[in-house]
Symmetry: C2
């Protein structure tokens, strides 16, 4: 089962059991629905027809405008909608139909999806500080090696901005990747679900390799409606689009019609949507940077925050002191001893011995819609008592963790 | 692409182009949303969290009650929700993970889904007048043959009541199927999406083989909300349920949360839902029987209508007269010459030369919500001018088809 969704469910069980858990395990965005967005869902509640597999004409038009405003001119005919980017990514793997290169570290589901599709995933490390894009030089070598060995790599997945590292690959790296993809005839699947939560410029590979890049995004991260399940893909060729629509028609038929109507409104980006996305971005940035400071303050190594609500600290400098063998044990310790939930690097493709863990800060904004709305509006969200309390608690836990582990080590020795 | 969804889209294009098309190609239910059901979607519009992969606790409880009231005692823990029964059926094929026997004739997507999942589908004919359940004797032979040849059949799909034939397999046949499945250790996947649109008793294989039968259903047919995309599965074992949830977590995460809330209301079956489903069933039965009479009246062969809004007439008695080689040509002729859309038997796994075609009557209830509501309320919907006009037009077309084709044959000879 997906590590993030499993963590969500465990958290909910512990919360219902009355436990106090500081939940930093998953990136579900803990913010309320924008009222105007909710109203558009409500207005479309009577829509009960399947509609086109690729999505309604109004939705595809809105998505085309959304991308066109971001430097990617798009024809509505090139847009395909699905019940989340997750099913779109899965169907794209089936459509591309060969082995697929995935970055390391990597989002929890790419490799699992490839396996379900009966395909091999080929892990390729990213460059330091540039998560989400397999190092183009290593990509080239890995694909050539796989082909020599009789494999059939046909695609490469990139995450821009990146989950789990919260970084953004440099434009030069993206361009190199595009060149290698062209040279080796690979389809690039660019997962850009976090494109509106970037604190530095993002350049899509669709700029450099428009003829072979699929871009996916949705409303899950920018507008906090992950539970509504809607994603959109921008297809580079009629051939791939036709394949994707064929697969979609057999796997999910269409996307919930009332949600499509609301998404068409959102992707057209009226002023209140732009304002809400900007407010969310400010909130995420302020909180994620404060939490990054906490990790840095106790001596964990981490790359500068450039996007998303994710941090990917490395406790390698504390290995001797911690007395754990890897990230699984480290997150287990944090969870059971301190009630702090984070995910181990192993969930993102790291080796067992690595001490990288992933922290997500998007659930720190409050327990109620009132608290969460206040967080969105606050000039400085860090002064809100519930957010301050979480950050203080994390500081206390990490400080204590390093101290106590140290003691344990001494007792054992 | 799915034959039914392709037909839907073609119809919509022709309708927008101003063409008059008598649309009998697909089983989308042309009825408005029950107002109370719409209100429950509206009330849940603020729900934006993913929630559990398997579905919310209230939804699973309601689904368990729904099945328990139908003679299948169900624990809410055994229910898994998905964005339609289509993705559930696909994920179930992956979860069962072996070749799968499908009935012939068969719904358009089972074999296509098996192929996408990298599995082989093994077609087995149904008994006359008992669509949806592969003849148990032939099933046994086909599975043994496949195993001898090194294949790995592990599941069998049944459709109860059946699409495309509008019939229901007899309880004795279902019991025989259950026995064969037990003997050969096959999982039975029982697609019961039409279980509330039956005009004769339906017995689920889950009665005879509860230890190995998965049942799926949803709100698409009984409450006409196909475009909302929600299905539920009832799993027989913890092992299969865990596998299904794991696959669901990687392919679609969860089902639109507002839709889940509305479905929880509907599956609890308050009086107004029961009344609406009963009214729909009455309407479907009246209209589908009238259309069956039209086909019978021109001499097509068809089995007595027992369920659904489907008919599966065979024009074999008119083969000489029609001058077509098979159902593809026959439906093409009906579409281009007369603007009547139906699907060829080939879409349901029939051989090319067969003259079976499938007619669906669920779009005859009107063009507007007002007409459709009137159809639901009418003591005799056949007297409504728009329904009468469609049935009269079909009578005229079929009569003319047989007459004209006859003339053409004479001209050619």
């Amino acid at each position: 089962m997906s590590a993030t969704l499993a963590a969500d469910e465990e958290f909910e069980r512990r919360r219902l059991a009355g436990e106090q858990v500081l939940f930093l395990a998953t990136g579900e965005i803990g913010l309320p629905v924008l009222p105007e967005l909710r109203e558009h869902l409500i207005a479309a509640a009577g829509r009960n027809a399947y509609g086109p597999v690729a999505g309604s004409a109004e939705l595809r038009l809105a998505a085309a405008g959304y991308w066109s405003r971001r430097g990617l001119p798009t024809d509505p005919a090139d847009v395909v909608c699905g019940p989340g980017t997750k099913p779109l990514l899965f169907a794209l793997m089936l459509a591309v139909g060969g082995d697929v290169v995935v970055p390391v570290p990597t989002w929890v589901s790419y490799a699992a999806q490839a396996q379900l599709a009966g395909l091999r995933s080929i892990p390729v490390r990213t460059r330091p500080g540039e998560g989400g894009v397999p190092d183009p030089t290593e990509l080239r070598a890995a694909v050539l090696t796989a082909r020599k060995a009789g494999g059939n790599p046909r695609g490469v997945v990139v995450t821009l901005p990146d989950n789990p590292t919260g970084t953004i690959a440099k434009p030069e790296t993206v361009r190199e990747l595009a060149d290698v993809a062209r040279e080796l005839d690979l389809v690039i699947i660019s997962d850009e679900i976090y494109c509106d939560l970037a604190y530095a410029p993002v350049v899509s590979p669709a700029i450099y390799a428009p003829e072979r890049t699929v871009v996916t995004t949705g409303l899950t991260k920018n507008l906090a409606v992950g539970g509504w399940r809607l994603g959109v893909a921008r297809l580079p060729t009629a051939e791939l689009r036709t394949k994707l629509i064929g697969i979609a028609s057999q796997v999910w038929s269409s996307t919930a019609a009332p949600v499509q109507a609301a998404a068409a409104y959102a992707l057209a980006e009226p002023p209140e949507v732009i304002r809400r996305v900007a407010a969310s971005r400010r909130l995420h940035e302020r909180v994620v940077r404060a939490v990054a400071d906490v990790f840095a303050g106790v001596g964990a190594e981490l790359d500068p925050v450039q996007a998303t609500c994710y941090l990917y600290p490395d406790f390698e400098p504390h290995r001797g002191q911690l007395g754990v063998t890897g990230s699984d044990e480290l997150t287990q310790l944090l969870s059971t001893r301190y009630g702090v939930a984070m995910l181990p690097g192993t969930a993102f493709g790291e080796p067992q011995h690595s001490l990288r863990i992933r922290a997500a800060t998007s659930r720190l904004y409050g327990e109620t819609d009132a608290e969460r709305s206040a967080a969105l509006l606050a000039p400085d969200p860090l002064t809100l008592p519930w957010i301050k309390a979480s950050i203080d608690r994390l500081t206390e836990v990490l400080t204590q963790l390093l101290k106590e582990s140290n003691v344990h080590r001494h007792l054992r020795s």
